[in-house]
């Protein structure tokens, strides 16, 4: 020490020592702080000076006693928490949770105050040494000394789970206390919440709902079961909002969904007398809606519901379209389809949330069974015919649109749209020529709909028919204006029909009465004079006539008849009795038509302006006909209908079918050529696929037919087979 050099060094170190010097100082300061912590835990803090405690803690850190302060804090707090743990353990029965909650609140308050005192340590010493900050430390010590205490841990879990069970069985529990305790577990970290409560809670819940669902499924019907499941689900969600972590919602609802729905899905759907099919049959919107909303929550739930619904609709639909009873009345047939569609539309919209996949399932089911019956296109056209002839009278414009839209919807399901077109054309032609259509607007509206659905090509001929009607009116005006002398005598109304637009059959013109044929000749020369390069041929099988007749007792009637009928009746102006052979010779009407026409004139009660010998229902070749002088009718105008089968007869059906097939041929060929023109080379399967796709909007092309068309195109040098690969076709430009 006497060494002067040493002395110099000593001076420098002396300053350092002065700061760290008195070890008693550190102990004394810590005693003050330790005492303060005791007082805080003992609710006796009012006598403490914050400023003094803060300064003391500051000084300890400043004088490098941070470590001492920190370890002291850990020890003191741990000791207090052990005492606290003891008092919680000692709490009797129901008071356990309340004591735990009270002590937790005390600890939190104390922790806040301790942190205030030790703020400087928190900020400096703890940061630079990377120790656990005071608040976090307080939570960890609480967790380790209280929650993980062997006498508290399982008791806490059991108590919480029992309270949940009691609430599930209808008891009222203290939710506020429950919320506080759960909040404490979450404050201690999400892993503490999960391990100490959530995980066991989910397991116990699964067990509970497994048992309950088993009980319910044995004693409840489907609707009742779903009601109970829904209530349970809502209860669990409510429980989460009241006192659990929001993140638990998905987990607990998952448990309920699995145990109550997913595990019993098939049993519920197929439950006898109350399952899905019964709900559908009885339009149980509420039950169906509930089923939808519950099943939506589990995987494969909705597809299960959808599959059962689909097979049910297909079953019902198949019965509907194949029941021979139903086929007797096409209008009723289509109406039943529409009713069925309405029923399921309503179910989907009011119970199935307008789910697109259900709508698609409904559509595909309808498409499936409507096409099971080859006559569906015809029937749908007949339904429209019926509606447009009489059904729409007195119906508002909006309602007309609704009906037409529904028809269009059925039309969309048809695979053979061209067959529909064929029938529609026939029916439309009849309506137009007989002037029977109720509303021009409705007719046109439907054509516009067809056009938007199938394109211009589909409706161009139908539109041509309307144009012809309009042009014919103008032509007739022009004809009579240029022939003023025709005021007297019979009136001729000619409808000039463009060949191709109308469903005309090549028919033999019958012999018209002289008066008429003269008039017709005049019209012919007028028409050909105004239009060059045209040819007129009379379709006497399609016309009508109004003729005045005077019967035996002088009573007069105006008869509304077909052109054929007129020709027959006019013969009786010159003779009283005519045999079948004579009539056939004079008129040259084709035998089948003539027979039908005579039948309607002589055999229909109330309309029998002719009398026949012998009296019988059918027309024989040896029959004789007389004017029925005894004919009476309370109406002045009498409409003599032709006996027509509203539905097509079997041979007619065959004929229409054949015509449809014939019309398809050029369309298939055109499609093949279009595709090959762009692809140049293509194999057989792909051609079939593309042609089918292209023609889908009109009809379902038959692969054998396509093959035939391709062969025909090869013959005509549009295509050739590849020399190497016989499955390949090449386009020949």
């Amino acid at each position: 020490m006497s060494n002067p050099q040493r002395k110099r060094n000593f001076q420098i170190e002396a300053f350092k020592h002065k700061v760290v010097v008195d070890p008693k100082y550190a102990d004394k300061t810590w005693k003050i702080l330790e005492h303060a912590i005791h007082e805080i835990y003992n609710h006796n803090a009012s006598g403490l000076s914050f400023e003094e405690l803060y300064r003391n803690a500051y000084n300890m850190v400043l004088h490098k006693y941070g470590e001492k302060l920190y370890t002291g804090l850990v020890a003191t707090m741990t000791a207090h928490l052990k005492d606290i743990s003891k008092s919680i353990e000692d709490a009797q029965g129901g008071l356990f949770l309340e004591e735990l909650n009270r002590k937790w609140n005390d600890h939190n308050k104390a922790l806040q105050m301790i942190r205030d005192i030790l703020m400087y340590m928190d900020r400096t010493f703890i940061q630079s040494t990377r120790k656990t900050p005071v608040h976090e430390l307080g939570l960890i010590l609480w967790r380790d000394n209280v929650i993980y205490s062997s006498k508290i841990r399982t008791r806490l879990l059991d108590t919480l789970l029992e309270l949940v069970l009691r609430e599930r069985t209808g008891e009222v529990i203290n939710r506020g206390l429950m919320r506080n305790i759960i909040k404490m577990l979450m404050d201690l970290g999400s892993s503490v919440y999960q391990e100490e409560f959530e995980q066991p809670f989910l397991e116990v819940s699964a067990e509970f709902y497994k048992g309950e669902s088993q009980k319910f499924i044995e004693c409840c019907d489907c609707g009742e079961y779903l009601k109970k499941a829904e209530r349970r689900l809502n209860e669990e969600m409510e429980r989460v909002t009241h006192y659990l972590d929001a993140k638990s919602e998905a987990k607990i609802t998952n448990v309920v969904e699995k145990e109550m729905i997913a595990n019993h899905m098939l049993a519920l759907v197929h439950m006898e007398n109350s399952g899905l099919v019964n709900m559908l049959l009885d339009d149980k919107y509420e039950d169906l809606g509930r089923m939808y909303n519950l099943f939506r929550r589990v995987s494969n739930g909705l597809s299960t519901v959808r599959d059962v619904m689909t097979s049910h609709i297909r079953e019902i639909g198949k019965q509907l379209v194949t029941d021979p009873e139903r086929l007797k009345d096409p209008v009723e047939f289509v109406q039943r389809l529409l009713d069925e569609k309405d029923k399921y539309d309503k179910i989907i919209s009011s119970a199935f949330n307008n789910d697109k996949t259900f709508q698609n399932a409904l559509n595909s089911s309808f498409e499936y069974f409507i096409n099971l019956n080859a006559r569906s296109p015809e029937f749908i056209s007949l339904f429209v015919d019926d509606k447009l002839r009489k059904g729409l009278k007195g119906v508002s414009e909006e309602d007309v649109e609704v009906i037409l839209d529904k028809v269009m919807m059925l039309f969309r399901y048809l695979q053979e749209k061209d067959v529909f077109e064929k029938y529609y054309k026939q029916h439309l032609a009849k309506r137009l020529l007989s002037g029977k259509t109720v509303s021009d607007d409705a007719e046109r509206s439907l054509i516009v709909k067809l056009k938007t659905e199938c394109g211009y090509q589909f409706t161009s001929k139908l539109e041509g028919m309307f144009t012809d009607m309009k042009t014919s009116q103008d032509t007739m005006q022009g004809f009579y204006a240029s022939h003023p002398e025709l005021g007297e005598g019979p009136t001729l109304t000619v409808q000039v029909l463009t060949t191709g637009s109308w469903p005309t059959q090549p028919s033999v013109t019958c012999n018209l009465p002289a008066e008429m044929s003269a008039l017709c000749e005049k019209f012919r020369s007028y028409y050909l004079g105004t239009h060059t390069g045209r040819r007129l041929s009379w379709q006497t099988n399609m016309g009508t006539a109004d003729i005045k007749a005077t019967f035996g007792k002088g009573q007069k009637h105006e008869l509304n008849v077909s052109t054929y009928q007129m020709c027959v009746l006019m013969l009786f102006n010159n003779s009283d009795r005519l045999s079948y052979k004579e009539i056939e010779q004079a008129t040259e009407i084709p035998a089948s038509d003539l027979k039908r026409c005579l039948q309607s004139l002589a055999c229909v009660k109330g309309k029998n302006v002719l009398r026949k010998e012998p009296m019988s229902k059918d027309i024989g070749e040896d029959d004789a006909f007389f004017v029925n002088d005894k004919f009476t009718s309370k109406f002045y105008k009498v409409k003599i209908g032709t006996v027509v089968a509203q539905k097509e007869s079997e041979p007619e059906k065959q004929e229409t079918r054949q015509r449809v097939e014939e019309d398809r041929k050029p369309q298939i060929e055109a499609a093949v050529v279009r595709i090959m023109k762009s692809r140049r080379v293509l194999d057989h399967n792909n051609i079939i696929m593309e042609v089918t796709k292209q023609l889908q909007s009109r009809f379902l092309a038959n692969p054998t037919e396509i093959k035939k068309r391709i062969e025909s195109l090869i013959e005509r040098d549009f295509l050739e087979r590849d020399n190497v690969d016989r499955k390949l076709y090449r386009y020949l430009a």
Binding site: A45, S46, L48, F50, E51, Y54, R55, Y58, K109, Q112, M113, D116, I117, M119, Y120, R123, T124, Q127, S128, T129, R130
Partner: protein, 443 residues
């Protein structure tokens, strides 16, 4: 009671009386001495006009801090040393308030030289890096000196004679340092150090084929999703760019260098968040040629690249000495040793440098001991260091708007912007400058 303010508070600080309101003190925030003092837990005796609260602290500093809480402005009278004030602010827990009031939001065109600090190392600084809260670290050889925002020096980081290549801040407590591997020792690489204690916390390992290998870590870059990138040179030619997770410290990726290109020697890495790519630039004279590329780690793809291989080298002023990507204008800015700025379009695959003649400032007059120019980008302002000054370019056309020059200390070898401060390190004397934007005044 009329006219008596209920929230008046009287303090006796170290013998001097102060009167203020609890409203003013509430500006300090709950996590301060005052916030705790007034918390209801502490059950402060209701004030009457005579009672006062004693605080055993320096009254002069209290006056300054009380004024700071009242106005938000910091005025330090000449008789109060700044260090003393900061110590007192630390006591009350309002140090952040002091820092926030000391300098304003960074603006390259309003910078004032605030201080110059002379460090202990004998010159030849490697790098200076600004910390997130106004501190900085300076790398010299195998030492890194760390300063907090008060410019108080912390215990230095000693790399045990491994040469430091780069450094970077993860947060105000942690610094990543990359170092050279010394031959035959198997050390080097990259480590995470405590900024306040200077201790090594963890090392970042590189493994190739499941084997941990020693390596030399070069330039560093950080991405907002907590990744660290470093150029790496392994001993068995395992060159490339490594990627680590900041939190776990684990290596998560490695982009191997392909033949004919340079990644492991890179001078500069820059993470481009909008492109989800890393800019890697290896420059003359570390290599004979310059290689700049953009790496996409997801596809292990070099999505953009440029090199001066094959370019005419007769005009040596066209050698690129630093590069920086500017995402806003989809371009890369480069600089040569005459401080000519050049630009490359990131959107064109075959990019070429478009030299800007306007930026040429130095033609002819080179200082005796030149430092290579460096570039930095901050909030739409471009900074370029050259000799003893830093130029600031602003606007979409990068017009020269300001120059920062102190006049002594020699050339600037590195500079860094962060924590609303610019730090410039001089090469000759071991000195660095702190540039700040003055705080906006109430007046």
């Amino acid at each position: 009671m009329m006219g008596v303010q209920r929230d008046r508070v009287r303090f006796n600080v170290g013998g001097k009386t102060f009167e203020t309101t609890s409203t003013t003190l509430a500006n300090a925030g709950r996590n301060s001495f005052f916030g705790a003092l007034f918390d209801e837990n502490w059950n402060l005796q209701p004030m009457n006009s005579n009672s006062e609260l004693f605080i055993d602290r320096n009254p002069d500093c209290f006056a300054v801090l009380l004024d700071l809480l009242r106005t938000g402005e910091l005025y330090i009278p000449p008789n109060v040393p700044e260090k003393l004030l900061c110590r007192e602010a630390q006591f009350y827990g309002v140090l952040d308030h002091v820092r926030a009031a000391k300098w304003g939001q960074f603006d390259g065109n309003r910078l004032r030289l605030s201080r110059s600090i002379t460090g202990p190392a004998p010159g030849d600084g490697t790098a200076i890096r600004a910390g997130p809260d106004g501190g900085c670290c300076v790398a010299h050889g195998s030492m890194v000196h760390v300063y907090d925002w008060i410019m108080e020096e912390h215990p230095p980081i000693n790399l045990d004679f491994q040469r430091v290549n780069d450094a970077g801040w993860i947060d105000s407590e942690s610094i990543v340092i990359s170092a050279c591997e010394r031959l035959g020792t198997g050390d080097g690489g990259m480590g995470l150090f405590s900024s306040s204690a200077g201790e090594l916390r963890s090392k970042f390992q590189v493994s190739h084929g499941d084997q941990i290998k020693s390596y030399t870590a070069g330039a560093l870059a950080f991405s907002p999703d907590c990744k660290i990138f470093s150029s790496c040179k392994g001993r068995s030619n395992e060159y490339g760019v490594g990627v680590w997770d900041q939190i776990t410290g684990k290596q998560i990726d490695f982009f191997y260098e392909m033949p004919g290109w340079s990644l492991g020697d890179a001078d500069k890495l820059q993470w481009l968040n909008g492109y989800n790519c890393l800019l890697v630039a290896t420059l003359f004279p570390r290599k004979d040629n310059c290689y700049i590329s953009l790496l996409d780690f997801r596809e292990k793809n070099m999505v953009w690249s440029w090199s001066d291989i094959g370019a005419l080298t007769t005009f040596d002023e066209k050698r690129v000495r630093d590069a920086i990507a500017m995402e806003g204008s989809s371009s890369i800015c480069v600089v040569n040793e005459y401080e000519d700025l050049g630009f490359m379009d990131l959107r064109s695959a075959a990019a070429s440098v478009r030299w800007s003649s306007r930026s040429r400032l130095m033609s002819g007059k080179m200082s005796d001991e030149p430092c290579f120019p460096k570039l930095a980008l901050h909030e739409g302002q471009l900074f370029s260091s050259m000799s003893d000054c830093i130029s600031v370019f602003s606007g979409s056309d990068w017009v020269l708007t300001s120059r920062l020059r102190r006049g002594f200390g020699g050339s600037i070898c590195d500079f860094s912007i962060g924590g609303d401060r610019l730090f410039a390190l001089h090469s000759e004397k071991n000195v660095f400058d702190i540039w700040e934007t003055p705080p906006t005044s109430v007046l």
